[in-house]
């Protein structure tokens, strides 16, 4: 029997998974247009290598990976590039980013697919092939996969973990993939295994997916591998890499370190499947499994091209009349799509049609009663109510003392809070505030440095100029004196000496410094009015960000310690 470990906390939200696994997955029909963002990965933004008017083939490179931590982007189908421009992204911010718009021609004409002989290639060549195929973590993190396949120096790789946890309610894309593509997943796992040479390979699946567990066991046996398929208790967030690693190995990834530092690494099942397709079939990552569920007539998993507008995907499910929005991702960590024109990206795993009945509005927020439910539910062993208190008071230093950056935003704390406090929302706000301030500080620092540098240079130049002038004047005077002496004139003349030149130089420098001082005084705010305006500006910026973070709804009480 495999020995499992526990992590603290965790919650059991209703699964709502059965709806979408009632039937096998299907391939989504091609939409009228695909909007493929270039920056779908953590790391460098891929550079576009096509232009409007180009014809592209299915699988053709359209965005070239920029830097090592970056992943290429490919055309999901054959057709015409209609535009390369800024389009709204499937991100809570609703910001736009450069995307390639492709109008499919319906012919699905592939590029020449070239399988990679990964068994006989050196490690870096295989990694490059994975990078070229545009593979990123499909569990949601979108970190370029090849970048995770190098073991830490001096730390032997113990366990390679394949994450089939899928703990979020509603989402079943990994479940269905494991049921249908078990062998592909196992073969993809073997590729990573060969790259990283771990002692064991563990495939962790929540025990609420018995079909997937059976399918994976069968696939492992069929491929003749010795991977352990381990059923882990269904406890959200068991599918989070850190928590799954803890359950399977008993090891906790130390804060601020990578999992390879403790000899583990974790990949999502969809990711390793994509690796296998890329290397064995020569098909880059151009589509993925997406669950369409929630308030729809026909919940189901669709193999959909990357860049499919979510309105088209939603239509496949047949949204019910009272649908009032779409949640991208799961209900615990997902976000509401800024609008239905946004399209899917590599990280999009689920689309939940929302209605007031399925997701009733949150009840009014009450003051924290310090019951500690949130702390008991937190899988990261944090004290959410303390972080909440200090986020609210905008005492961000304190939130950091309470380890706010260890928060994985899993939502367990908000889920259990009897006072219905949207805790995670406060943490997102606090984190973005801290980032913004760090950014401001850096920007201010570099601006200040630039200014000082420029000033110093100008002063040096001025001083040099003054020195030249003084030298010239001295030379002039010396010449005159020499002439006078030559003519025998006995007029007393002041002979400029080296000392005089020195004095002139000093005077010039002093003058320059005086000017600089005056300038500095002019630049620096001297009255409180200016200071207040500055502060006001900062405060306004904070308010604006607070609004964006969705915190404008006043709490039921106004016990803000800072007000």
């Amino acid at each position: 029997m495999f020995q499992l470990f526990k992590f603290n906390g965790g919650v059991k939200p209703p699964g709502n998974k059965a709806q979408s696994v009632g039937q096998p997955s299907a391939t989504a029909p091609l939409p009228a247009r695909l909007v493929v963002p270039l920056h779908q990965n953590i790391g460098g933004t891929p550079r576009p290598v096509v232009k409007a008017g180009d014809r592209v083939l299915k699988g053709q490179l359209i965005g070239e990976a920029d830097g090592w931590i970056s992943a290429a982007v490919h055309a999901p189908t054959s057709g015409m590039v209609r535009d390369i421009g800024a389009y709204v992204q499937p991100h809570p911010s609703g910001l736009s980013a450069v995307s390639v718009v492709i109008e499919p021609d319906g012919r699905e004409e592939w590029i020449e697919r070239q399988p990679v002989d990964y068994r006989n290639l050196p490690t870096d060549a295989v990694q490059t092939a994975i990078r070229q195929a545009g593979i990123v973590g499909l569990g949601g993190a979108a970190f370029p996969t090849h970048g995770k396949t190098t073991p830490a120096k001096g730390v032997p790789m113990e366990e390679l973990i394949i994450n089939g946890g899928e703990c979020e309610p509603y989402i079943t894309c990994d479940d269905i993939l494991m049921r249908e593509q078990g062998e592909g997943i196992v073969r993809g796992t073997a590729i990573i295994r060969d790259l990283m040479q771990p002692k064991k390979v563990l495939i962790g699946i929540e025990d609420n997916k018995p079909e997937a567990i059976a399918a994976m066991r069968a696939a492992v046996a069929a491929c003749g591998e010795n991977f352990d398929v381990v059923a882990v208790p269904a406890l959200y967030p068991a599918g989070s890499a850190k928590q799954l690693t803890r359950m399977l190995t008993g090891k906790e990834v130390p804060v601020g370190k990578r999992s390879t530092d403790i000899g583990t690494q974790c990949f999502n099942v969809g990711t390793v499947y994509a690796v296998w397709r890329a290397l064995a079939l020569g098909e880059p990552l151009i589509d993925r499994m997406i669950t369409v569920t929630g308030n729809v007539e026909h919940p189901r998993n669709w193999r959909a091209p990357i860049g499919m507008p979510i309105a088209d995907l939603l239509a496949l499910g047949g949204p019910k009349a009272d649908t009032d929005g779409v949640i991208l991702g799961g209900p615990m960590m997902g976000f509401v799509a800024p609008d239905l024109t946004v399209s899917t990206v590599k990280a999009t795993n689920c689309l939940i049609a929302r209605s007031r009945t399925l997701f009733p509005p949150a009840p009014p927020e009450m003051p924290c009663i310090r019951c500690g439910e949130c702390a008991r539910a937190c899988p990261q062993d944090l004290q959410p109510f303390e972080m909440y208190w200090f986020s609210r008071a905008r005492n961000f230093g304190k939130t950091q003392e309470y380890h706010i950056f260890d928060c994985i935003e899993c939502g367990c704390c908000s889920f259990v809070c009897p006072s219905r406090i949207p805790l995670v929302q406060y943490f997102r706000f606090a984190k973005s505030e801290i980032w913004a301030r760090e950014g401001d500080k850096k920007a201010a620092n570099s601006a200040k440095e630039r200014f000082e540098y420029k000033k110093a240079r100008e002063e040096r130049e001025k001083a040099e100029k003054a020195e030249k002038l003084a030298k010239a004047a001295a030379a002039q005077a010396a010449k005159k004196a020499a002439e006078a002496a030559a003519t025998g004139d006995s007029l007393p003349v002041t002979t400029p000496t080296a000392d005089d030149a020195e004095a002139a130089k000093k005077a010039a420098i002093a003058a320059a410094m005086e000017r600089a001082k005056a300038q500095r005084a002019a630049v620096q705010p001297r009255n409180t009015d200016a200071l207040n305006a500055d502060q006001q500006h900062a405060i306004d910026a904070v308010e604006a960000r607070r609004l964006q973070a969705g915190l404008e709804t006043p709490a039921a009480d106004n016990e803000n310690p800072s007000s």
């Binding site: 929005g325 009450m366 019951c371 259990v416």
Partner: protein
């Protein structure tokens, strides 16, 4: 609509939590009524009314939404705890004044729900016992069996024969008995053998009420409304300290069972010290908090000037709670690997 995830929430609310605690008090209240008489029901009604009225008035003055906060159940719970800790035959105004003081001063003036540093019910108890020591020590004698009408008359001051009906609490009786009997060589064992006053373990009748509190409290633990830490360490501290002294000199000190089942220990351990707002917040902190309450309650009870020490012990530990929490922060996930 919720703006940011999670979009699903567990079915729970402050009202639900408070209701569970009130429910857990019901067995205790039932036995109390059966043993002592209906006076406790009158006091509960008075305290509830005073608590809700005080809360409503303060919410109104502070401009807070009435229906949201009045229905959260916290004021009601405070009222109930006050009723259960005050002498049941005390005059009506005593409990009303005490409850209003708890709600208005100890809770609302500090900012209302969740903001009060001290347990409001214990503030009410402490303030009353300091201000009205005589009234606060008039406990009904076990031998009177009066009906609802008589109790109503007593509570509302219509019946003058209070003194003849009251008796010392077992704790009081023990303390006074020991003092009086110092020369006569009275021992705890001898005094406790008087079943008229002391019943089987902790005071006749009271031991059954206490047992009902214990059952209600265990139910709260099982349902995870409260964690086991505070009650366990509270009771353990009482047992260890009283046990050590009892072993040292059984003539001077009562046995642990007596201390567990008399006075406010059981109610305090499960229902009062566990108040989340005023308790330490970390698991280890809760253990320290509970143990501190238990030790101090025993020390005040046995060596101090008051018959019972639970209220003062809890209030003292309330002061220490923030510091205890701060010093007992558990390591975060992955902290073990940190250097």
């Amino acid at each position: 609509m919720t703006l940011s995830s999670p979009y699903v929430l567990k079915e729970t609310s402050v009202t639900w939590v408070m209701t569970q605690v009130c429910l857990a008090l019901l067995p205790g209240i039932a036995v109390y009524t059966w043993v002592i008489g209906p006076a406790i029901l009158i006091q509960l009604a008075l305290a509830s009314l005073a608590a809700l009225a005080g809360e409503a008035a303060m919410l109104k003055i502070r401009g807070k939404p009435l229906n949201l906060f009045l229905t959260d159940g916290s004021a009601l719970l405070t009222g109930w705890l006050i009723a259960l800790t005050f002498p049941p035959l005390s005059p009506w105004w005593l409990i009303v004044v005490g409850t209003l003081f708890a709600i208005v001063v100890a809770k609302q003036l500090y900012g209302g729900l969740g903001q009060n540093p001290f347990n409001p019910a214990m503030i009410a108890f402490a303030a009353s016992i300091v201000s009205f020591p005589a009234l606060m020590s008039q406990w009904p004698s076990q031998d009177m069996h009066l009906g609802l009408v008589e109790h109503l008359r007593i509570v509302f001051g219509l019946s003058p024969h209070l003194d003849s009906l009251t008796a010392a609490t077992p704790l009081d009786a023990l303390k006074t008995g020991l003092k009086l009997g110092e020369e006569a060589g009275a021992s705890v064992a001898g005094l406790l053998a008087n079943a008229q006053t002391f019943g089987h373990v902790g005071g006749r009748g009271w031991e059954w009420i206490t047992l009902a509190y214990l059952i209600g409290g265990l139910w709260l633990c099982l349902r995870r409304i409260i964690t086991w830490h505070v009650p366990a360490s509270f009771l353990a501290a009482v047992v260890v300290l009283s046990g050590a002294l009892w072993l040292y000199d059984p003539r001077e000190f009562a046995n642990p069972l007596f201390h567990l089942f008399s006075g406010g220990v059981m109610l305090g351990a499960f229902f009062i010290a566990t108040d989340p707002v005023t308790c330490a917040s970390t698991p280890r902190g809760k253990l320290i908090f509970g143990a501190g309450c238990g030790l101090l309650a025993y020390v005040i009870r046995v060596f101090g000037g008051y018959p019972d020490g639970v209220a003062f012990a809890v209030l003292f530990l309330n002061i220490c709670a923030p510091l205890i929490s701060l010093l007992t922060q558990p390591p975060v996930f992955g902290a073990k690997g940190r250097n």
